[in-house]
């Protein structure tokens, strides 16, 4: 079995079978026609041999389908480019030693769920003492003063705190993404920090379930972290990037 990296297709149980599973709802009453419509729709999406394996009336005006199909398209993996954070992930002890050796002072890290966002689960997982899933949060790190401002912090309030606490780094969390509200919130923060003249003084990082590094950089952030991130991932990035910047300043 030789995998052709220039033309990768989904794998079900045979190379290049293109097997994909889909599920979706159509906003129509359940009927034979609805089932056939679902099948034709999947065909139009570019799948060969679509099979509706399950369908159900899920309340007047709504029908649910599970469909299998075979993808026609393939992808050349050798040409795929991803913007990645170049970071050497260290453990808590290594990070604490790094701060002690390379900074000789405590780093100030301010975190907040900004504007409308009231969901602190992400920022708490990174910042609070207990952290998440056995990975201690930044509050527990020697050498880091972690300030978790909590939920619904306005951009203006956050900017004031950044100045007051002499923040080295700012962690912004956005969980709610309905109607792209997170983009509006994140953009507003960058604008306010620029207007205050403090954007370049801090490392600005965003995290959330729908965030990745590329998206973060497009919005004017230094880095973005998505699902599966722990405190040490963020802290490793912070200390190394702050160190790199310090060096740049000295060289200038």
């Amino acid at each position: 079995m030789e995998v052709n990296l220039t033309g990768i297709k989904p794998y079900g149980d045979t190379l290049d079978d293109g097997a994909v599973q889909l599920s979706f709802t159509l906003p129509i009453d359940y009927s034979d026609e609805a089932v056939e419509a679902a099948r034709l729709l999947v065909q139009k999406m570019g799948f060969d041999n679509p099979k509706v394996v399950f369908s159900r009336d899920i309340g007047r005006g709504f029908s649910y389908f599970i469909v299998y199909g075979k993808a026609k398209e393939s992808i050349d993996v050798t040409k795929v480019k991803v913007q990645k954070l170049k970071v050497n992930v260290m453990d808590k002890g290594e990070i604490e030693a790094f701060i002690k050796k390379d900074f000789g002072r405590n780093l100030n890290v301010v975190g907040a769920c900004i504007e409308s966002d009231a969901h602190t689960v992400g920022i708490d997982a990174i910042m609070n003492m207990k952290g998440y899933n056995g990975h201690k949060g930044l509050e527990s790190y020697k050498g880091i003063n972690a300030y978790n401002l909590g939920s619904q912090v306005s951009c203006e309030e956050l900017a004031a705190k950044i100045i007051e606490l002499k923040a080295d780094a700012v962690l912004v969390s956005q969980v709610v993404t309905q109607k792209d509200i997170h983009i509006a919130n994140l953009t507003k923060l960058v604008e306010i920090l620029e207007a205050e003249g403090i954007r370049d003084r801090v490392l600005l990082v965003v995290g959330g379930p729908r965030i990745d590094n590329k998206f973060a950089q497009e919005l004017g952030y230094d880095a973005g972290f998505g699902p599966g991130t722990y405190a040490e991932d963020v802290a490793s990035y912070l200390v190394q990037e702050l160190k790199r910047r310090e060096r740049e300043v000295i060289q200038e």
């Binding site: 602190t120 909590g150 939920s151 109607k179």
Partner: protein, 517 residues
């Protein structure tokens, strides 16, 4: 049923601690009123509507009295005096005040007895409307019946009330018993209630009286079709807690999320304000036969579910005592808890079951609200569906009452319509397949489950005794709940707290304290 071999003396100790805490807080509450309490009084007098600038009339009136430094007598006092003087309808008086034509606190003051009599008369509008809604609910429930426990509770959260209606009706047709309309993110911090039907919200829909009415009507319609009464839930929380209670009671909501400490801890709302606000809000909910859901489950989103389990239990005791002070009966007090232990932990399900059984045994008459896993849900929807299934099993095995359905896409988005269908299907499967399992099981004496439950209770007792000793406000300042610390004078809404003057009178407190049922 006693399956955990709990020490009854220890349970009594826990309750005594909570009673002491509640008595202490009550003496704080009795001295104060708030802007939102007074706005609720006006709403129950029938005052509704907004100014040309979109400011609700109750806000305009109460802010005027507050700024003149006279709110300590209560808005009802000044408003009743205004009615006596001008002899016009309440709504007309409200509009004249909003238009700047009348300044309530400079109206010549009538005889105290006449004012109180006028207040009593004004209060009849709200009281009779709520009584009428209670009767309506009783009749509908008698005719249509209701689902069997654990009741299936689902949320809708589109941001658009008309879209919410479609999703809520679909959910009811799929088998849901309770529909909760999630509020738009940020509403808890608004110091006013938005007005009218709304179609723009994020992660939820504005709670307005008109939106309440629209959804109530939609659920009544679909209830006829489904052959059971469909309960409606909204939020009685945030800076407008008592007003939400008033609106919900007048529009026949059935369940309200209403915690005595949630706003303080998780929304940084001022502590003094919240304790006063929750008092009137629960008096109204109690009188209106509304079930309240408390928010202990939220502690576990910040604190660890295994280590902090006793804080949930302790808070349940406190919430219970504070609610009983408001004339509520245990059947209205749906104490919250959640399935949030790390699923990778060995025996995580066994500990979850112990906790769920513990809550059930400690509060046998309360319709407990059991919350699904959220913290350890990931983008792996297939595993997520299994986590939710395990939660369903724990619920039926421990005899829970209100079962908030977990969604396999919890970590991804507000639920798609099919997510809700899959959740209802899974819960119905488990509940049907295991209908009588709870009556079939005894737990091993001194086994993991009994020992864990006993340990959590023991820890809860020491926790409650400590809180009783230092006082609830001080305990919250010390970060004893959910690892979050709040200052009694800090947070949002503190400027809306005022001391009651000697002649203060709130006509709804006495009348409604007669309680539910």
């Amino acid at each position: 049923m006693h399956r955990l071999n709990l020490d009854q003396a220890l349970i009594a100790k826990a309750r005594n601690g909570a009673i002491k805490i509640a008595n202490d807080i009550q003496s704080h509450i009795d001295q104060r009123t708030t802007t939102s309490v007074e706005r609720a009084v006006l709403r129950l007098f029938g005052i509704d509507g907004i100014t040309e600038d979109g400011i609700p009339l109750p806000n305009v009136i109460v802010d005027g009295i507050l700024h003149s430094g006279r709110l300590g007598l209560g808005a009802g006092y000044w408003f009743a005096n205004g009615i006596l003087h001008y002899q016009i309808s309440p709504q007309d008086l409200a509009q004249e005040i909003a238009a700047g034509k009348i300044n309530l606190t400079s109206v010549p003051v009538k005889d105290e007895g006449a004012i109180r009599e006028q207040m009593e008369e004004l209060s009849q509008l709200g009281i009779s409307r709520i009584v009428e809604k209670k009767l309506e609910r009783d009749m509908l429930m008698a005719r249509l019946g209701q689902g069997i426990e654990p009741l299936l509770y689902v949320i809708v959260a589109t941001g658009n009330i008309y879209e919410d209606v479609k999703q809520a009706q679909a959910a009811a047709r799929q088998g849901a018993d309770i529909i909760a309309v999630i509020r738009t993110t940020g509403q808890s911090l608004l110091d006013y209630v938005p007005y009218g039907a709304t179609t723009e919200g994020f992660g939820g829909t504005y709670a307005t009286q008109e939106n309440f009415r629209i959804m109530r009507q939609a659920l009544d319609e679909v209830g006829e079709e489904a052959g059971k009464y469909i309960r409606l839930t909204n939020y009685c929380s945030g800076l407008c807690m008592p007003e939400m209670a008033a609106m919900g009671a007048m529009e026949r909501l059935d369940v309200m999320l209403n915690d005595s400490m949630y706003g303080i801890i998780f929304r940084d709302i001022n502590m003094e304000r919240t304790f006063v606000d929750q008092y009137l809000s629960r008096i109204i909910n109690g009188f209106a036969n509304i079930i309240i859901n408390t928010g202990e489950d939220n502690y576990l989103t910040t604190a660890d579910a295994y280590e902090a389990a006793h804080t949930v239990t302790a808070s349940q005791f406190i919430n219970e005592q504070l609610a009983l002070k408001c004339g509520m009966v245990p059947e209205q007090i749906a104490l919250g808890h959640a399935y949030e232990i790390n699923p990778e932990m060995e025996n995580s399900f066994v500990y979850e079951l112990a906790q769920a059984l513990l809550a059930r045994e400690l509060f046998p008459r309360s319709p407990l609200k059991y919350m699904p896993p959220t913290k350890y849900m990931t983008g792996n929807i297939f595993k997520g569906h299994i986590q939710d299934c395990m939660f369903n099993i724990a619920s039926i095995m421990s005899g829970q009452s209100i079962h908030l359905l977990g969604m396999l896409t919890e970590a991804i988005h507000t639920p798609h319509i099919s997510d809700r269908y899959l959740a209802v299907e899974s819960a119905r499967y488990v509940f049907t397949a295991m209908r009588d399992i709870a009556q079939e099981i005894y737990f091993k004496e001194d086994g993991i489950i009994q020992k864990r439950a006993q340990q959590v209770l023991t820890d809860a007792v020491s926790f409650l005794e400590k809180v009783a000793e230092v006082g609830l406000m001080e305990s919250i300042s010390m970060g004893m709940f959910a690892d979050i610390s709040r200052n009694p004078k800090g947070g949002k809404g503190f400027t809306g707290v005022v001391y009651k003057g000697p002649g203060y009178f709130n006509p709804f407190i006495d009348a409604m304290l007669k309680g539910g049922n």
